[in-house]
């Protein structure tokens, strides 16, 4: 058996370590590139969303490297995601690749489901070994996400643009190679202190913009045209609750207790949307309501043809909690200029608002 899994931000790093420790033969698909996109678009049904297409692209490029199994996400959520694994398997079959697409249910929120799939894929490794490997993978994931949160703060104020991005990609590579907890801990600590020492422009009080929307397009920079870095270049501090580590924490460990950020987000959305509408639509509305007091603005990312996010987009202007929202539709388009024009205008708008005293966060300053 030879296994691969899709790209979504840095998620391949913890999974690589998991496969490595369980002795699973694996392939990391080539990173998302124009080639991935071209292949994906050629073989995908036209009306499906960009997450479907890029996942398929990863599968095809991994299949070219001789995999026979692909681990992806699915489940019985109300959005089309639940069908994706089967359709993708069929498309791969039509292309002549005999690949089994194994799907882990995300909407069921069951850690046990994933562990059982991993047990099967590891050809029945002992449970203790699986749990240890899984914990180390999680540790890598947490380290990466923790560093990224610092990067989000440094990016808008660094004097030499691009410094924090470079530090982050260097740290990611090192974390990818790290093989024990001590090295990992040291990497995390060193990188964060390096980031904190980056020369900053202390004169500006950066605008704070939240990012919300569909999970995949929020987390895969290729699909959102690096919207976070671009906002950072414009001097904006980006905040988001969507991190894989948070998702795991909220869905697998804390949710049964019902006391976490996700529950608070759902609670906030209730006056406007009373139930889950599939995908991440409920969360998008809730994030706007919940964070209206602390963010200057919100960037809402939605894949083209994504029903839940379109519903959310239409509810957002009507909430009583007023904060400017810019919806960006993510699709096959690779040219950044249209997005940049909107981002620049959005930042101008937020700055004017703050100067006029109606902005949030740092009232009256600047």
């Amino acid at each position: 058996m030879r296994l691969a899994m899709p790209h979504m931000g840095n998620i391949y790093i913890p999974f690589r370590s998991l496969f490595e420790r369980l002795g699973i033969d694996y392939v990391i698909p080539p990173p998302n590139t124009q080639r991935t996109l071209s292949l994906a678009v050629r073989y995908s049904p036209e009306g499906l969303c960009i997450p479907f297409k890029l996942l398929l692209g990863n599968m095809i490029e991994a299949a070219e490297l001789g995999i026979d199994t692909f681990l992806t996400v699915g489940g019985c959520g109300i959005c089309r995601l639940g069908y994706y694994a089967k359709i993708q398997e069929q498309i791969l079959c039509d292309l002549g690749y005999n690949v089994e697409v194994v799907s882990v249910g995300v909407s069921e929120n069951k850690l046990a489901g994933l562990l059982k799939k991993i047990k099967r894929l590891s050809q029945d490794a002992p449970w203790i070994k699986i749990i240890r490997a899984f914990r180390f993978g999680l540790a890598k994931l947490y380290a990466l996400d923790k560093i990224e949160q610092v990067v989000q703060k440094v990016r808008p104020v660094e004097l030499l643009k691009g410094t924090s991005n470079q530090l982050f990609s260097r740290a990611s590579e090192a974390i990818n190679r790290a093989d024990d907890y001590a090295t990992l801990k040291k990497l995390e600590k060193d990188t964060i202190s390096e980031l904190n020492e980056v020369t900053r422009n202390n004169e500006v009080e950066p605008l704070i913009v939240g990012i919300t929307g569909e999970f995949y397009v929020v987390l895969e920079p290729f699909s959102n045209l690096d919207v976070e870095s671009e906002l950072g270049k414009l001097g904006v501090e980006v905040r988001r609750t969507t991190f894989v580590s948070n998702w795991i924490k909220y869905s697998w460990f804390l949710n049964p207790l019902g006391l976490n950020e996700k529950a608070r987000i759902h609670q906030a959305a209730l006056p406007y949307l009373k139930r889950d509408i599939g995908g991440d639509g409920w969360e998008s509305v809730g994030e706007k309501v919940l964070h209206a007091g602390e963010y200057d603005g919100l960037v809402h990312l939605a894949p083209f043809t994504c029903m839940p996010e379109i519903v959310a987009q239409n509810i957002m202007p009507a909430t009583r909690e007023k904060i400017p929202v810019l919806t960006i539709i993510c699709d096959e388009q690779l040219a950044k200029s249209g997005m940049l024009t909107r981002l620049e205008a959005f930042v101008d708008l937020l700055q004017c608002r703050r100067r006029a005293g109606s902005g949030n966060g740092h009232k009256g300053k600047v």
Binding site: T33, Q34, Q313, I329, L340, T341, L349
Partner: protein
């Protein structure tokens, strides 16, 4: 005399506006871009040199529009600003009480919501160019009439027919169908104007709080029939300001005036001589990673002035492309 120059290089037209130190418009120019933004900026500067009164001293230059970065490199801009902010500022300059600005240009259309002289919301067409100037141009061409005639003809309509405005392809096939059924050309044309207005309001204006005073600017505001259709649909007066077609350039000039007043430095403007040098543009495929981005570059003699087009910024940071 101190003056400030705004240049708006759009997909279809290139606009120049020169303001004096009290922000009065002293000269403006409206040119077709014709797919050659660099040549048009150079040509426009040449015109300006010949026609501006002597003694006018350009103390600041700003560029805006979709080719703002390219134009900024050529002229030596002190400020490069997006067209949404530029348009909003220009409207506020002429009509301070404005609450809604509608701008329809060659390829894109915008709506800007303003309250108490502050932009609070905006929208821009995302996935569809239906209702923009290019489509109207295309229809005029197909009917073998000038764009001015199209507007005049449409105004004569008494019983407009319904045209599907969802998409230009549907609109065109609907128009052909109605024309082959024997409907009058003016009724079809006004039906088209109504469809475009509906499409604009349903897409760009979706969820926006449109309140009067409503100002309509951009090239398409020349079209009286669209103005009439907008007024009917919005049930409100629509103001078309004088110089509505160069508002983006005016806004850029206003912004750079403000910027230069606050700054200690002199202008970076390269002067009107720019109209005579030869810029070379070329592109190549970056091989640094599997993305194979197409990098565009602009050069003067052997010196590279700027590069862009990559997903990452290695080429923008250094001419060698070393991260």
């Amino acid at each position: 005399m101190e003056a400030y120059l705004g240049i708006d290089v759009g997909s279809v037209t290139t606009k120049f506006a020169v303001l004096d130190s009290s922000d009065e418009l002293i000269y403006h120019l409206y040119l077709p871009t014709q797919g050659r933004p660099i040549e048009m900026v150079q040509y426009g500067l040449g015109q300006l040199r010949g026609e501006l009164p002597s003694g006018v001293d350009i103390c600041g230059v700003a560029t805006t529009g979709s080719a703002r970065y390219l134009a900024g490199v050529i002229v030596g801009a002190d400020l490069v600003k997006n067209e949404i902010t530029s348009h909003a500022l220009a409207t506020l300059h002429f009509i301070p009480e404005v609450q809604t600005t509608i701008e329809i240009g060659g390829q894109d259309s915008k709506i800007i919501i303003i309250r108490d002289s502050v932009v609070i919301d905006f929208g821009m067409n995302t996935v569809c160019a239906a209702g923009t100037g290019s489509f109207l141009d295309h229809q005029a061409l197909r009917l073998n009439m000038s764009i001015e005639d199209l507007s005049q003809q449409a105004l004569k309509s008494k019983t407009p027919v319904r045209i599907a405005g969802r998409c230009t392809v549907f609109a065109e096939s609907d128009m052909i169908h109605k024309q082959q059924m024997g409907h009058r050309i003016e009724d079809i044309l006004y039906g088209l104007c109504q469809a475009l207005v509906r499409n604009y309001l349903n897409n760009v204006g979706l969820g926006k709080d449109i309140r009067p005073p409503i100002v309509f600017q951009g090239g398409v505001a020349f079209n009286q029939a669209i103005v009439k259709a907008l007024e009917e649909e919005l049930k409100s007066e629509v103001i078309v300001p004088p110089h509505h077609e160069v508002m983006g350039a005016i806004g850029a000039a206003l912004l750079v005036h403000e910027e230069m007043a606050a700054s200690q430095n002199g202008s970076k403007f390269k002067g009107f001589g720019v109209s005579e040098v030869r810029y070379r543009t070329s592109s190549f495929e970056c091989k640094a990673c599997p993305n194979l981005c197409e990098i565009a570059q602009i050069a003067l003699d052997s010196q590279i002035l700027a590069r862009w087009g990559g997903r990452c910024d290695i080429w923008e940071r250094s001419p060698e492309g070393k991260g």
